[in-house]
Symmetry: C2
DNA sequence: AACCTATAGTTCTCTATATAATTTCAGTAT
DNA sequence: ATACTGAAATTATATAGAGAACTATAGGTT
């Protein structure tokens, strides 16, 4: 069983990806695909290290990442097990709307309602660490899943050279930023509940006063330079967030 | 500057706490207390290792925990820095309402509206991995901060020997569970937006139809045994959640 | 059958070391 | 003053190894 499964694991120093990342990814694929089920024991660290001819500490590092993602749990003296309920990772990793929806097998799309360079309003400037009035790209988009509106995104982006046409073509703002060499690294989100006003209700095709999840996010690149400040209004009936917490 | 600060760091093998945990905690205290400000460089890993006479890998492990908590960021070749905006940790660590509020310098209290052992309803039983009808403690509490109602908690707890009097005395369900030797380890939360019905509105002193953040949480102990399934309704105007995401 | 002990297996903590990749700084040449 | 090179400094990856702490199992004794 487990022995046959672990024969599928392949890691190589030639790949250019750190060994622990390769292992983490392959183990994660096995878990997410359902090959290993919740509470099923994984091979021990020492066993994997021997089988793959790598150091135990390297295996341990890979496993540590899976623990952090809530996919496995480890018990001293007993072993390592697949965590119950494979997690949605919306609040575990920084992903774009497009990525998140595709990961759920849904077809995301967007209507760009506004795409223009504006002077940064005071609060946005403060969020992004700019002087008020610094030019930023103001981007308002209606986000759809399988053709149905689910969220309204109102973003201020520090990169002002992204065009309406590019957005329509590529779809994902994050993908466009990454094409430009911006390495997204970290974001901070604040989640609140609000009710829909008339304009938002119309766009999202819900009644005025319906509950919305409001998500405010500031995103930084790997040099901790701010990239984006966005407020998203999400239909609460079609879209919710999940997270694993640790003690 | 940094030299004087690091003279305050003390770790000892006698303490019984792993060295990396001791260091992580002390560094965290320095950051949270404001001794180190955002973007300020921390001592390098090698410097700390030399100063504390411990291995670089041990320092690195401590730092890794701080990175995971969003308190610092590391740049290859440059160093380690305090992350901007010290984070509220509500969605980073598993903490109780009581702990969270105290951490924010607020005075939490509760009114227990219901505290009785009941047969687990089907959905709760499914959440907790029980047979329907298994006895669970049903606990409904109005949570207050500085005397003002902010949330309504409706919990089903697997430990049925907790009394109304204990809750009133100690206040924190998690503290009571921990007194009983239950080591809380992990929780999964789902966040949604809803609107207040008449009963909830009255209890929370808001208008009917006002937005609420609904948080559904299942908590497990360190053996991954379910401890609690809870639904919290939180006033959106007084209480919101934050989280750091990583790419 | 119950209990105790020894052993094996597993994760946890820690050490020492090395190389790779990146950034920064100092020295030298133009 | 500027540009280039090499060294120093820093984090990132990886290794090998050891002992501690815990769990599970097997075997022996009562």
């Amino acid at each position: 069983m487990t022995e046959r499964i672990t024969k599928r694991l392949r890691i190589s120093k030639q790949v250019g990806t750190p060994l622990y990342r390769q292992l983490q990814q392959q183990l994660e694929d096995l878990i997410v695909s359902g090959t290993w089920r919740p509470r099923e024991p994984l091979p021990s660290e020492t066993e994997l290290a021997a089988r793959l001819d790598i150091s135990v500490m390297t295996v341990r590092q890979a496993m540590g990442l899976l623990v952090n993602r809530g996919l496995i749990y480890r018990e001293k003296g007993r072993g390592t097990f697949v965590a119950p309920r494979p997690l949605e990772r919306s609040l575990q990793r920084l992903g774009s709307f497009t990525e998140d929806m595709r990961a759920r097998g849904r077809e995301p799309s967007a209507q760009t309602l506004l795409c223009e360079v504006v002077p940064a309003p005071a609060q946005i400037a403060a969020d992004l660490g700019f002087c008020p009035g610094t030019p930023v790209l103001h981007l308002r988009r209606l986000r759809l899943v399988d053709g149905f509106p689910v969220a309204l995104h109102d973003a201020y982006v520090t990169r002002t050279d992204i065009t309406h046409a590019e957005l329509n073509s590529v779809g994902s703002l994050y993908a466009l930023l990454e094409q430009r060499g911006i390495e997204l690294d970290e974001a901070r989100e604040v989640l609140e509940a609000v009710v829909a006003d008339t304009t938002t209700a119309e766009l999202l095709r819900i009644r005025r006063g319906a509950p919305l999840l409001q998500v405010t996010r500031i995103t930084w690149d790997r040099h901790h330079v701010p990239v984006e400040s966005i407020t998203a209004l999400c239909r609460a009936d079609m879209y919710h967030y999940s997270v694993t917490l640790r003690r």
